[in-house]
Amino acid sequence: MLTSQRQVMGILIAAVAAEWARKGTLYPLDTITTRLQYSRRPITRLQLAEAKVADSQPSAVTQLEQIRTIVRNGGGPLSLYKGIGTQLVGVVPTSLVYMPTYELVTELMRSLDATHFSGAGRLPASQIASVATGVVSSCVRVPISVVKVTCAPLLACLHSLPCPLRPRSLPPRRLGYSSASLQMPRTPSRPPWRRTGGAGSTPAGPRRAPWT
């Protein structure tokens, strides 16, 4: 039986660590997938050319080219990790119930089987524990999802995607949509006081932000 506090703590720590490892490793892929899913189709080379990243032949582009554009206009590969902190915190509640529920219910079922059926394996311990895990994790996941959806109106993401995949008519504004996976930095990513050329540009030398 998993009765000792040390064992339960071990399961809790292992569950969170495993989820963090998974999330941290796959976060860039997850971000790219989300941004691709949220971009409009069909994307043509002409649309990419308008963003000055490709030639002007209007033909369909591959997903690889779209990914390159997303990474480039986002500010480099590191931009794919934006918002990872929020995501790592967000997976903790589900992790804390997912594996612990499974392990504890499995042990409970096995002990019941040993008590009532002399350990003949008549109780489908794993299956019962799986169902319990699904129910318990849903009880945690669903309220979190509801809060997420309520706090982050999905329509605002249209305006918070200042990438070449977004229609030109939409202004490059952020309308308060703060979901990490949908955040894409504005292009160009350089701050105004660092831009060169044009009226009002500062000469070479140490530059300061306008508000300092």
């Binding site: 040390r6 071990g10 292992a14 409009r40 999905l154």
Partner: protein, 141 residues
């Protein structure tokens, strides 16, 4: 719940099969292989439910945004996000109805639409998740 059921059933089966083959506790690499196989099998088996779920969520969201009495779009493509192409109202009333409708109107293959990215994410994710869990559990316990 279905995902957990398939995932843990497969995991237990592979764990027992692996241990009985090598006659010792599985190493981290072997656990990674077990995790990968669990991810692959679970993704393939639960993809039809995921497709219907995605469409149900999409059509509910659209119905909620348009309000009652709004015109229904024809069920021609899979529901996408708010920023993607217009979401479709497939007219599904539930999971089983959705499964039946997909098979009837689009064929059995449509049940596994979008499998590849999900397979990649789940299989690789499981390949990382399971060995790390077992390793940390062993260290912590």
């Amino acid at each position: 719940m279905t995902y957990a059921l398939v995932q843990f059933s497969t995991l237990e089966w592979l764990r027992v099969a692996g241990s009985s083959m090598v006659h010792r506790p599985l190493t981290t690499r072997e656990n990674a292989l077990v995790g990968f196989l669990v991810g692959v099998i679970t993704s393939v088996l639960t993809e039809p439910i995921d497709v219907v779920r995605t469409r149900l969520i999409g059509q509910k969201r659209r119905a909620g945004a348009q309000g009652p009495g709004s015109a229904r779009a024809p069920p021609t493509s899979r529901a996408r996000s708010a920023c993607g192409p217009a979401e479709q109202d497939f007219g599904y009333t539930g999971l089983l109805h959705g499964l039946r409708q997909i098979v009837r109107s689009e064929g059995v293959g449509a049940l596994w639409r979008g499998l590849l990215p999900r397979l990649l994410l789940k299989a690789v994710g499981s390949m990382i998740w399971y060995p790390v869990y077992m390793r940390v559990l062993r260290l912590a316990s």
